[in-house]
Subunit: 220 residues, 2 copies
């Protein structure tokens, strides 16, 4: 899928279920996936994943980073409740990653692995291991990695390692990354949150981002 | 608190609310804290934290490892719902840790920081940073660190760094660690899960662990 498909993932980092469902429904035409995180799921209940999955496939961004036993339980709950994919931290170790991948495969789901966080602190411990984590993710058969749109030079490096894995890049918009630079660097999907859901006009913002992606694809 | 108080934390890694409340109530006399993880909270709803908090103070072992913005939302939800402390990954970076600590302080709560996971994969990326993470946790004012009972030599090293911070050690029981070795190495609290809750007789097991801790304290 790398290099051919480019798409838009909405990070639905809200805590109100109604608002989340409302925005997701409104922007559905312009997005490929919905990414949910713990704040929404903890506030609204795990059932919100299934409700959102009726709109678009849901990525449960649970940044799983526990011992294998607990990590498999978390992944299982996500998939049982309708998630299409889960996000896992590679730094927890290969045993955790493999355990989560085993669960995903039972459900025909996917696993995406965090390389380095897009926040400044992502440079402190994670960055130096990002390449090793990406290799590990690739070698054990994960489906994608998460790489920061705030650091396009890192996406380029990680693209060389990623092989057939998808690269999903958060940090476009409020955090400073932009669509074209991120896609050019080698990302397959851009992940956009606040720029869409915190906007006065989420539909306009989602449509605009989708158009930027489409223009990028035509220009190539 | 280090070196004086020694105690028992029950890791309530179950997914059924009724069973969790039942076991917690039964072993209340022998434990100091209840540690909950995502599997229970996702299955039972966030309200289970408040229900358990009526029995013993609850540590929300959410292993927070996200960008600061998302991490604060997760911490806020935990404290709003009655948690006494949250567990955070230092690996995510100092900005995440500080952001979570700020939230904890608003609620008069505590933050415990994972140094290395007790699972084999904890050696791969985490272990070489465990000392730095412990120093970071201490320097910014966190209340404790998590160090593996499966590696008592590591608890000894981390005790030298920890200063006044508490050391909480999982991995006693099923994972191989034992009470006396763990306490001798410098842990303040041992965290025990399956040995209690998956036992035929959780009360007997909790009482036995409490007695081992008491004997250790008398023998010193």
């Amino acid at each position: 899928m790398s290099g051919t498909k480019k798409g838009l993932i909405m990070a639905l980092d809200l805590i109100e279920r109604e608002k989340a469902l409302d925005i997701a429904g409104n922007v559905a035409d312009y997005i490929d996936f919905i990414k949910v995180n713990y704040p929404l799921v903890l506030s609204s209940g795990i059932g919100v994943i299934g409700e959102l999955a009726e709109i678009k496939p849901v990525i449960a961004d649970f940044k799983i980073a526990d011992i294998p036993y607990t990590s498999t339980l978390i992944a299982k709950i996500a998939f049982e409740n309708g998630a299409f994919a889960v996000i896992c931290h590679g730094f927890a170790g290969s045993d955790t990653l493999k355990a989560v991948l085993d669960v995903a495969e039972e459900y025909g789901g996917e696993v995406y692995v965090v390389t380095e966080l897009s926040s400044p602190g992502g440079r402190e411990f994670l960055q130096r291991h990002a390449d090793s984590i990406a290799m590990l993710a690739r070698d054990i058969g994960c489906h994608g990695i998460i790489a920061p749109a705030t650091r396009p030079e890192r996406i380029k490096d990680l693209r060389k390692i990623a092989g057939d894995m998808k690269i999903l890049s958060p940090g476009v918009g409020v955090q400073g990354g932009d669509v074209v630079t991120t896609l050019e660097a080698g990302a397959d999907y851009i992940i956009v949150g606040r720029t869409i859901y915190a906007s006065e006009d989420p539909v306009f913002q989602a449509k605009k981002l989708r158009e930027e992606i489409d223009v990028f694809l035509v220009d190539r």
